[in-house]
Point group: C2
Chain length 391, copies 2
Amino acid sequence: MTVAPQLLPVAAARTARADRLSSWMRHKGLDHLLLTAPDQIRYATDYRAQLVSESTDWYAAVVDADGEAEIFVPFTDHVMERPEPAVDRLRRLHPAPSWAPAACQPRQWVTGLSVVLRARGARRVGFDVLDAALLHDLWTDLPRLSFLPCAAELFTLRAVKDDSEIQLIDIACRINTAALDKAVQAAQPGMRDHDLLAVAAEHQHSLGAEFLTHSVCNIRKGSGSWFADGAPLREGEPFFLDTGCHGPGGYASDAARTGFLGEPPPAVSRAWSHLLTAYEEGRNAARPGVRCSTVHDTMNAYLLRHDLPPTPYGTGHGVGLRCCELPSVNAATRMDTDDTLRVGHVIALEPETAVEVEGRLMVLKIEDNFAVTPSGLRCLTRATTSDDSAP
Amino acid sequence: MTVAPQLLPVAAARTARADRLSSWMRHKGLDHLLLTAPDQIRYATDYRAQLVSESTDWYAAVVDADGEAEIFVPFTDHVMERPEPAVDRLRRLHPAPSWAPAACQPRQWVTGLSVVLRARGARRVGFDVLDAALLHDLWTDLPRLSFLPCAAELFTLRAVKDDSEIQLIDIACRINTAALDKAVQAAQPGMRDHDLLAVAAEHQHSLGAEFLTHSVCNIRKGSGSWFADGAPLREGEPFFLDTGCHGPGGYASDAARTGFLGEPPPAVSRAWSHLLTAYEEGRNAARPGVRCSTVHDTMNAYLLRHDLPPTPYGTGHGVGLRCCELPSVNAATRMDTDDTLRVGHVIALEPETAVEVEGRLMVLKIEDNFAVTPSGLRCLTRATTSDDSAP
């Protein structure tokens, strides 16, 4: 499963992203970007800033329209010139305050960023996420610069993937699905939710995941109550796992599997069978030119027609350098934009339903990741063993 | 290891935090807070919003000075009144756009938040993190409200912990340390960095961790190059692991262990022994009333006196509902504020040094978590087996 680094299309993905970003910056008249979210930094520079789940503002990249980057990092006490000879456009690393949210060290950050933005002659700077007080101070320090929020546009730009990006997502999906399958296969009565997540996490790491994004397990809890709490598995009951990780290269996978211990009650089997059919109808509906809400409505309408509760949240989302990005797949009334599916989108679909048996609610869920191709969806996550009919 | 939920001081921690926050809000003249970071939401409401590593803005809590809260969540299609009967002050949950950064759905968010803020008669609202475009739209929608950035002040407020909070950190530390020790003990020549992280993650989950925050492993790489890449362990070489997790209740632990396979070269043994002494001097220096920079300088000065490279980044940080919060322990020139240690602070100390043997750089590191008590530090993470003298 572990893919030799030289076989990963990382350089191709880096070039494709840099070209797309550069065109967009020129079109917007931006001479620099100031990025702090690890996935935005990765997109623009390929630099890995997801050190910890909470390192959402420990790094900052200043990137120009040629893709040349200077990055603030928390682990050095001196400027490092051309730290990665193989990455030509990564000019230098600067020391940043270590191990605290950026909001806690505004003067350190404003001083460092101002020096670099001034030295580069920045004028119109797009940014993704900045603490409001820090942004205010930066603006005060650099009154001749324009700072323009552009997180939403960056996510829009990222929604359509290059083939190399889809290959990297595919590798993350293979890791994540294999880990999920191992956990479902390991399930035995008496094991706890924590034990299943342990199996999944162990395999995500040993198969070469870069970063574990989430691992939830639902045993006898309602929708939204996805957190393991020591619940033991019992014969005849379903459970589901929803896990995610970044593969080598930083791209994500986000998938879910329902498992059964022994023979479930007939009402559960019926609901599960209907969920799979609803899912199949949603997958078949999803093709280029179709609105995301149509895919969502197709799955939920099928569930409702069969007297099952519909998914009480969005049934899908884009997958890329985040587990969850654009396009959103939800009811039209729940989205700012009801996007049209396009070739190159990569989406997760994740319908859910529930059934009450002897006063106990049992939630059923499935989630795979798909590339949108001219002829429809191509599954990037292997089918669950309980669903041999899935693509 | 798994602690029975009824034995966790979660309710005590919730009350202590709510009281502290309430006093602070009244002192600041804030009638509401608008919080989106999972740890800030947890602090103010005890509600768990860390669903995925990237769910940093999928939830939003509106909290008044009595601690009464309404929370936007991504997993429901309808308003849920009093969703947790045991949590009196959690009034209702509202549907929020699912599975996308908030910046991608500004109208959905602004509409939802405006309705709630208006209905509650909010006037002066402190906020932690909001997308700049979304904040602009919210302000336009609610021109009579004041929105005041307060992330930095919230982190300052959080730095001193109640005893119940320290107990919860202690539980997270026991989980994290046991997982680290298992991984170090499992190390064998030929195993890869990924395999060690697999052992650690498996144990974090099976011991009841809520959420895995990070897992890095350094084998024959420089400082800052902490990411597993398939490197195999070799006889006579050191390696280090740095892992973190949230325990039950949401509090974090962040620790690191260096391991050795067989007998390391004399230069490595010497450097390791000096690192442990530097660490001991830092620990002994750390007591109430001492500046954080003094602790930092003590450790690095010792390393420099013994011709070893000092830690090239901050040697410590607070630990709480984030792995890394205030106070920062760094050089005075690298911090906005050189805090004085106080009873109730919980800190990580993490000195590092390196030694070159036959042209290969070997990085050595150790990290534990400590509560600051009147008489000095109390270790919350068990000593590494290689350091029996540690507290």
